[in-house]
Amino acid sequence: MRTHPARRTGLAALLGLLLSGTAVWAQPASPAPADTASSPAAAAAAEPLPNRFAIHGYLTQGWAQSTGTAFYGMSNRPSSDFRYAAVQARFRATEKDLFLVQLNHRRLGRSPITDFESDVNLNWAFYQRTLGTGTTVKVGRIAIPRGIYNELRSVGVALPTYRPPVVFYDEGAYYSETIDGAVVSHRFAEEAAWSLDAHLYGGGWRSLAYDTWSESYGIARVRAENAVGAQLWLHTPAEGVRVGVAAQRYDYDWDSDVPYEVKEWHVSLDATRERGFLRTEAQLQNYGQDKFYSGYVQLGARVTPRLTLTGEVQRSRDTDVQYGEGLPASFEWHRSDGLGAAFAIAPNFVLKAEHHWDRGIQVEQPADPMRAPRFRYAILSLSASF
């Protein structure tokens, strides 16, 4: 029985906040129309901080089924136990000071991943200071500004499919959404046609690691420490088109083993236009005992103002393999092709249906890379936000 009474209480509180209505604005965004036109100094003194306090939230409820292989909680028995939800409270104390806390909740059907987390988790908690140059410094638990989707992993209303490409971004394992540490961000040449966003971060995080090639499937909590990384986004003069490069290194501490160093490189292209989008990313993760390559291409077409069709291709491969007796030096880890449709009933209320064709060992059961299981899965989901 997974659900602990205390967890149920926390879940009720989270859902209560989600259902409590629209965004809260503690300070009216509309000031009284004082006659300040002739006195800019007085007006400046009275200038309000719009959106001083705000609460936002999102929820995605999914129904999913696979053709048999255990894959992120799915099996051949359809289940509605798939859900992402979060409530975000933001308080802007001054023009330069911001506090933000986000609680989240995740259910992944029968996945062992959710055995490692509570029904309600502290997702983000950070303080942000804006320096005079426009540079921002965040300290606390912060979404890692990495790649196109890492900061939006569970936000159904902002994603073309139920979740970001899972072969690439995974789901709680080998890839962290957040960092416990600090993130420094700066936009260079913000008024120019070409501008550059730079993010530097350092700290550590918890994630999961799994073992699918042994006789029994295993999953364990791991901790990354001494992480440092950078993400650069070059914004082009073409609206919605940006190119990213990123790199990070950290020490993985798994059980009692000696921590080992991981190095990662990452490139991204995001072209999001009014009529559709093309997003593609590739990365190399060097674990020392192997080099893991993964990538995807996502193409979306907005066929009507409300309906978007998305196709995606994901691939990953493990090379230079020096672990696991009997494993070849190089093998395909996982491949996934998917088609999906998203219908926006409103910008903050989206219905999605998708189907995926997979083959590989990024599964939640023992799997032999030489006889990787082939399977399909489908997800129907409804996302809302306020």
């Binding site: 509309s30 036109a37 959106n51 936002h56 975000q88 023009e95 979404a143 902002a158 009014e274 409103a346």
Partner: protein, 152 residues
């Protein structure tokens, strides 16, 4: 003056066709269905469309003078918002709302405050020297605000 009465007076000033305009309104913008308005003390005479878009999408946060910019939107459904969003931001209102969903839930920013009427948007701009808003092309601008010419 009670607040309600003052709003009403301002609303009348905006809609009465017989009142002479106190500020010249850029004809190209007006023909497109919107006029960008700033505080009368704002030293910026004109801006390229892309720069105005960056202010409203918070991709830029300051005026050329270095002063903080404070954009204000009209609520969705207002014709001026539809026109401004299409012509200046180059997007549809639902696309802009989707953009803000992503910004909010990646922890970066929240959208500009929305005002329920043009009168209140103008009052907001009039009360805040760094503010920038927009009204319909037929609006008559009161004292304390002026039109900002938006270039291609």
């Amino acid at each position: 003056m009670p607040r309600r009465l003052r709003w009403s007076a301002l609303s009348l000033a905006l809609v009465l066709p017989s009142a002479p305009p106190r500020q010249p309104v850029p004809t190209a913008q007006a023909a497109a269905g919107y006029v960008v308005v700033v505080h009368a003390s704002n030293p910026t005479p004109a801006m390229p469309r892309e720069q105005v878009a960056k202010l409203f999408l918070r991709k830029a946060t300051r005026w050329p003078s270095g002063a903080p910019a404070l954009p204000v939107d009209l609520r969705g459904g207002e014709p001026a918002r539809e026109a401004f969003t299409r012509e200046v931001l180059g997007k549809s209102v639902p696309s802009v709302k989707a953009y803000w969903q992503a910004r909010i839930f990646s922890g970066y920013d929240v959208p500009p405050p929305e005002q329920p009427s043009e009168a209140q948007a103008v009052a907001f701009v009039r009360a805040n020297p760094g503010a920038v808003g927009y009204v319909s092309g037929s609006a008559v601008l009161p004292e304390g605000v002026r039109a900002l010419a938006v270039g291609p």
